[in-house]
Each structure stands twice: as C-alpha cells, then as structure tokens.
C-alpha cells in the first residue's frame, strides 16, 4: 500500500491514463487455410479472438492500475462492429472504457498508427501499451510507427515495465538477451510474451463490463484519411513438408543422419 501511495505521489498527484490498443484476429489455435483462388486466407466461419499480445497489454495496464500507478484504462480497437467483443473482453479484464473505431476496411499499419495518433491526441494518455505483433499479419510495426507519429519514446518487446515518477523503465527481450531502457513519459510500450500471464475474466466482471462505456467513432470523425499503398497480389500456401519416417532406435537415427541425410 505504501509503495502505491508513493508512486501516485511520484507522478505529482496527477492522474495517469493508460491507452491500450487491442486487435481482433484469428484465434491462435486455428490453423488458417489459403483460399483456392489464392486471393487471401479463408476466414469464413473461423473463430476470432483478441490478439494474444493485446491480452498481455491489457493485463499489464490492469496490474498498473491495481498497483495504484494508473488511474484510468482506455481501450481502443480499430475494426468491424464485432470488434466490440474484444473491447468488452478488455473491459471485463479491468479496463474502464472503450473506443471502437469502426471500419470494414483492412488497414495497413501506418493508417492504424495514424488513427491511434488521433486517439492519443484526444485522450492524452501517459502510457500507451500495444501488443508487439498481430498474429495474423505478423507485422510488428504499429507501436513503433505510433512512436514516430507522436514523438514518444518506445519500449518494444517488453518483459517488464516499471513506472517511476515521470519515467518508465522497460526491460526488452532482444536477440542477445535482455536490455533495459529508461523512457520519459508519455511513452509507448509493446508487450512480449513474458510480460505477464493474463487473467481470465470472471462472470461478475463480464456482467459489469456490459455497463461500462463504449464509444463508437469513425475514421472521418477522427479526421484520418484512409489510404492504402500495399496490394496483396496473391496468397499461397507455404511449401508443405511431408512427414518422413519413424526410426526404431537411436542407432538407426544416427545411421540415417550419417549416410542418408549426410548431416552428421
């Protein structure tokens, strides 16, 4: 309790708002198939869910609020009407209010970042938490682009976030290990897998979430022009690997690797 009081004090008694961006994507358990005409993947009747990295982002915001560091959590999603489901899930996990930027279009990362920039301008959060990567397009771009557009510092691929006064220390998962950077607030964080383990929403909280505010806006309300510079020429299945053989013993394995595969 004392530490949380201290933290509130350190941010000068000001309220700290966190903005979290969540995306509706294919459920991570689904193995997607390419359409026969090679125009895209087939998402008809496929189970959709919140992007796993976004769940981690929401959880981190909720923990910062529970610690007394944050005072309000606003969740934003850009997508079709049904993306309200992912906002409601975030509200059930502990976010306070939601914004849906409703669009049927498939947006490129720069446009998503521009929309988020418009929301940042309006909401003036001290911290923006995004996932490191959408598991559908595997882009890993939006948080960094938002950093450029807002001029904020960025702590990407975060495995630990510590807010102290007007700074946040972010420990990042990098190819060679872990690196900690110190950022001046307001700042951007993108979550990696080890940042936390998201909780499950309880039934009472799911009920409560239904009454939390959810505002719906359009890109034109925000004054963002949607333009596209990338064309999906085609989508093809990856080179399939066929199952090989089962070997009966370690001896047979060694023999095959030496004489057949010639890799030992």
């Amino acid at each position: 309790m004392l530490t949380s009081l201290l933290k509130i004090h350190l941010i000068d008694g000001e309220s700290m708002k966190i903005l979290v961006a969540v995306k509706r994507v294919i459920d991570y358990n689904v193995k997607v198939r390419v359409k026969a005409d090679n125009t895209d993947v087939d998402l008809a009747n496929v189970k959709m869910a919140m992007n796993p990295f976004c769940e981690i982002a929401v959880e981190e915001a909720v923990r910062l609020k529970e610690k007394g560091v944050a005072t309000e959590i606003v969740v934003v999603s850009i997508g079709p009407k049904v993306a309200q489901e992912q906002i409601r899930t975030s509200l059930a996990l502990g976010a306070d209010r939601g914004i849906l930027v409703e669009t049927e279009e498939k947006l490129e990362s720069l446009t998503v970042a521009k929309i988020l920039k418009a929301i940042v301008d309006k909401e003036q959060p001290q911290l923006v938490i995004l996932g490191k990567q959408s598991i559908d397009n595997d882009n890993n771009q939006t948080g960094q682009m938002l950093g450029a557009l807002t001029g904020m510092a960025q702590g990407t691929f975060a495995s630990e976030v510590v807010v102290e006064g007007d700074k946040v220390n972010v420990t990042r998962e990098i190819d060679s290990g872990l690196r900690t950077v110190g950022l001046t607030l307001p700042a951007i964080v993108t979550s990696d897998l080890r940042l936390n383990e998201p909780r499950y929403a309880s039934l009472p909280n799911i009920m409560k979430a239904k009454r939390k505010p959810l505002e719906v806006v359009t890109t034109s309300d925000l004054g963002v022009e949607v333009k596209s510079t990338q064309t999906l020429v085609k989508v093809t299945p990856p080179a399939e690997r066929s199952a090989g053989i089962k070997v009966a013993s370690v001896d047979e394995l060694v023999e095959k690797l030496k004489n057949e595969a010639k890799v030992l």
Binding site: A148, V233, P238, K246
Partner: protein, 309 residues
C-alpha cells in the same frame, strides 16, 4: 535507384544478418549503401566497406548511436533514407525496433520480414505464423522492409572496396536512455547462424536437464534453442526461443526434443533442411514435419545419442 541497408554490428564487425540483407538488396538491384551507426565504430565501417557488392559506406559515429536506440536510429535513418529508393534492415530485434519508426517518419508503410524479391516493388513474406505466404506490392515512393535472414544466402564479407563517408549525427531528443543489459553468454554458435540446432521443450522438465542438450550440442558444434513453453517455465532464457515470435532458424539439421510441434513453433524452424523429432507421444504434431521421428523417452534417447555421435 539506390538502396540503403542499415548494418547491424558490434562496433568492430558487421554481423551475419547484415550479409543476408545486402543479398536482398542485390536481388532488388541498384547501388547498395551500408549505414554503420554506432560509437567508435571505425572498424565496423572498415569491415562494412569490404562486404561484397557494397558501393558506399556511411558512418555515423556518435554517442547517440552507441546502443542503436530506436528513437535516435529512427531519426537518422529517416533523414538519410529520404534520398533512396529502398531502405532495408535485418529482421532482428534491433531492425524491427527502429525501422517501422523510420518508415512512419517518412510517411510510408513498411513490409516486414521479406523472404524473397519478386521485383523492385514486390516481395513475398510469411503471414499467419507461416501458414500462408503473401506476395505484396507497394506503391510507396520509398520502399522500406526488414529482411528475414533465412530467405537470402549471404553475400561474402570480403571482396568489396566501398568508399567510406562520414555523416553527422542528428541531435538527440533525450527521451530514451540505455539503462542496462543482461546478455546471454555462450561459447556455442549463434542460434540463427548454426548449421545444427538442438531445441528442447516442456518435455525437458527443468533447466538442469538442458545440460544433456548442451553436452550433445558441444559434441556436434550445434546451437541450443527452445520452445516458448521451456522459456516461459524459466528453464532457459528468452533469447533461445524459436518460433513465430522468437527466432527464425533454418539449419541443415534441427533436432526437436520434447517439443509437441505447435504452429507457432513450426513457424520458426520448418524451413530447416533436415528435421529430427524425439518425443514419447507418437501422435505429437511435430512428427508431421519431421524427416526422422524417434518415439522415445528423451531421458534415455539423448544420452544414448550423445554417446553415439
């Protein structure tokens, strides 16, 4: 049009992923300029000038670039990149950190992790954890992309004789600073560069049991990787994770030990030349991609394998 490639280096030498990225630039076609941004990085710049196919090296030697922080790198790359047709960086955690930032500053989109060049404006890249390959065409005036190393055979680190030019640093905004680092120490080959990779999963049960894999790896000159489950459980550090959201490897031989074969793991290793799976569950999905499958208890199979190679 010319191509700006951002070199990844440790201030004394350029790393392997840079050579794959230059190869992608060569596939696009055009003069290749390598940018070396660092502190006291003259020897890295010298090494960069020798890389095959590089016409020019730009050196930004300044404290602002000591740790290649995204804020400073983004500003620099956006400023220098204005005059180029393409900007490429390796799809490492460094490249992924600063390149989208530079692209947005230039008001262009970016293409992540290209694995082939179809033409100067069209590239292929995996999406949905590698379950589909997208061919993407861009109309952006400056084409910005990260390059997945496994998609391109590296150019030679020797044989070039590029000119070296110094560029000045851009004033740092001072919004980010390096605080500390905990780097993996290992005498084994680097995961993404090794010709043999042995990875352990949840089946390893704990960190101590990974010793078995290290012993086998040392005998074979192999690197050791892991599944997400093994990293999450704290058996091994995060830099060992192979997969959709970890490292992408494509060695001559990949040995998956006690790994079930989730799509997210396969995304990081299924382009390996030969895959071996050792798993006690004969139904494990990893066997569907393995060239050689051994249904066995790893605690018996690994020591035996180690004694026989």
């Amino acid at each position: 049009m010319s191509i700006l490639v951002i070199a990844e280096h440790d201030n004394s030498a350029v790393n392997a992923a840079t050579l794959n990225t230059v190869a992608a630039a060569k596939a696009i076609g055009g003069d290749v300029t390598l940018l070396v941004a660092g502190l006291d990085c003259a020897s890295a710049a010298e090494a960069a000038a020798k890389v095959e196919g590089v016409a020019k090296v730009l050196v930004a030697d300044d404290a602002a670039y000591q740790y290649q922080l995204a804020e400073a790198m983004g500003d620099l790359v956006a400023e220098l990149g204005k005059d180029y047709g393409h900007i490429l960086a390796p799809a490492t955690t460094t490249g992924k950190d600063f390149l989208p930032r530079a692209a947005a500053l230039l008001d262009v989109n970016m293409i992540s992790e290209i694995i082939s060049v179809v033409s100067a404006d069209t590239f292929t890249r995996p999406i949905y954890a590698g379950n589909a390959i997208a061919t993407v065409q861009t109309s952006d005036s400056i084409k910005v992309a990260t390059v997945r190393a496994t998609g391109f055979d590296p150019v030679s680190a020797e044989g070039g004789s590029a000119s070296v030019e110094t560029v000045s640093a851009i004033s740092d905004k001072g919004i980010s600073a390096f605080v500390g680092e905990e780097l993996a120490k290992s005498d084994r080959p680097e995961l993404t560069a090794a010709s043999i990779v042995i990875s352990g999963g949840r089946g390893m049960q704990n960190g101590e049991n990974f010793e078995m894999l290290y012993k086998l790896a040392d005998k074979l000159g192999a690197a050791v990787g892991a599944s997400r489950a093994a990293v999450d459980a704290g058996f091994v550090p995060n830099d060992m994770q192979v997969g959709q959201t970890g490292k992408i490897v494509a060695p001559d031989l990949y040995v998956a030990v006690g790994i079930s074969g989730a799509i997210q793991h396969l995304a990081g290793m299924k382009d390996s030349k030969v895959i071996v799976a050792i798993n006690k569950d004969e139904e494990a999905p990893i066997f569907q991609v393995a060239d050689y499958g051994l249904v066995a208890d790893l605690f018996e199979a690994i020591p035996e394998l180690e004694s026989k190679v």
